[in-house]
């Protein structure tokens, strides 16, 4: 193992542990200086770090006192997505139930027509809100053991609606460009774009919450 390989392996472990980039660079520079001096004395790097580099890297982070929180982007995005899917299903039922209750409570005239944009906004907005609640609740419950998950859930609550302002028109444009096709390939692309956008936003939310935490 060369010095570069040892530093790279340690750096990957520090990244996995959520050590901020600046601290990773400082740790790597310090370690490199020490290893280079030892190698110049004729001691190979792999003999110095006897055993698993990742164990050494973890120990070094703990002893250095560097604040770090594991990012777990994939786990958080997947959990939020699963929560959002459940939320969509619940949201459809809730909105449909509310609609039926409203119809029973209010005897609207037969020629009453709500503007399409308002009706669609209420319908899809309602479902979206329940989906967002599903994502946030899912993350808070299922990942309650993950450090700083409360901050991340709060960031998701803020960023997902903001991102929807950009994502929804883009998806509508795509649908319009494809002639509002219901072909399976087009629908799958729309679903994939939605999932990718949602995953990107939850990742951004996690990153934002960790940046604030580690700076604070």
């Amino acid at each position: 193992m060369t010095i570069d390989e040892a530093i790279t392996a340690a750096g990957q472990e520090w990244r996995r542990l959520g050590v901020p980039a600046r601290d990773r660079q400082a740790l790597a520079a310090d370690l490199r200086l020490d290893l280079e001096a030892a190698v110049a004395d004729g001691v190979p790097a792999d003999q110095l770090i006897d055993g698993d580099v990742t164990v050494f890297a973890r120990r070094l982070v703990e002893e250095s006192g560097v604040r770090h929180v594991p990012a777990r982007y994939g786990q958080i995005a997947a959990t939020a997505l699963a929560g959002a899917v459940v939320g969509v299903l619940v949201g459809v039922l809730v909105v449909a139930g509310l609609y039926m209750i409203l119809v029973r409570l209010f005897n609207l005239p037969g020629d009453f027509n709500a503007p399409v944009a308002v009706a669609a906004g209420i319908y899809y907005g309602g479902i979206g809100l329940v989906a967002l609640a599903g994502a946030v609740i899912g993350v808070l419950i299922l990942l309650r053991h993950v450090p700083a998950i409360g901050r991340t859930a709060a960031a998701i609550t803020v960023l997902v609606p903001l991102s929807a302002i950009v994502m929804v028109p883009l998806l509508m444009l795509f649908a319009r460009a494809t002639g509002y096709s219901t072909a399976i390939s087009i629908v799958l692309i729309e679903i994939a774009l939605s999932i990718a956008g949602f995953a990107a936003v939850t990742t951004l939310a996690r990153r934002w919450s960790l940046t604030r935490l580690l700076k604070g």
Partner: protein, 122 residues
């Protein structure tokens, strides 16, 4: 020859004393990382490697017990040389007294006697 069980036992004993040993060795003479590993080995702990000592040095630097200085070397790359700080010297004095007291107590217990302090409390 130390078998696995004895090696574990020695590692446990050393865990609480290694930082003190490093401070003592550095107080004799500043050293760079690998040189300190060699000196620890020569002192009687050959199984203690760089992977143990370097993180410990990092902790002692964080606590201000050890200071490091990068020195240019005529024979190779620059070297980080570690030296005991004033706070480190003070801590070493405290730790040494604490250790001597601890050894006295353990020695008395192992010899079958009751430490003098414990006797006076009875």
């Amino acid at each position: 020859m130390i078998d696995g069980g004895e090696a574990d036992r020695q590692a446990q004993l050393l865990r609480g004393a290694l930082d003190m040993c490093l401070l003592a060795l550095l107080s004799e003479r500043p050293a760079h990382g690998y040189e300190l590993v060699q000196r620890v080995g020569e002192a009687g702990f050959p199984s203690v490697g760089y992977g143990t000592i370097y993180p410990l040095l990092t902790r002692m630097r964080r606590l201000g017990l050890v200071a490091q200085e990068v020195q240019d070397s005529p024979h190779g790359p620059a070297r980080k040389v570690y030296a005991v700080s004033d706070a480190g010297h003070a801590r070493l004095t405290d730790w040494t007294a604490q250790w001597n007291e601890f050894v006295d107590v353990v020695g008395s217990v192992l010899a079958g006697g009751v430490p003098s302090e414990a006797r006076s409390q009875q």
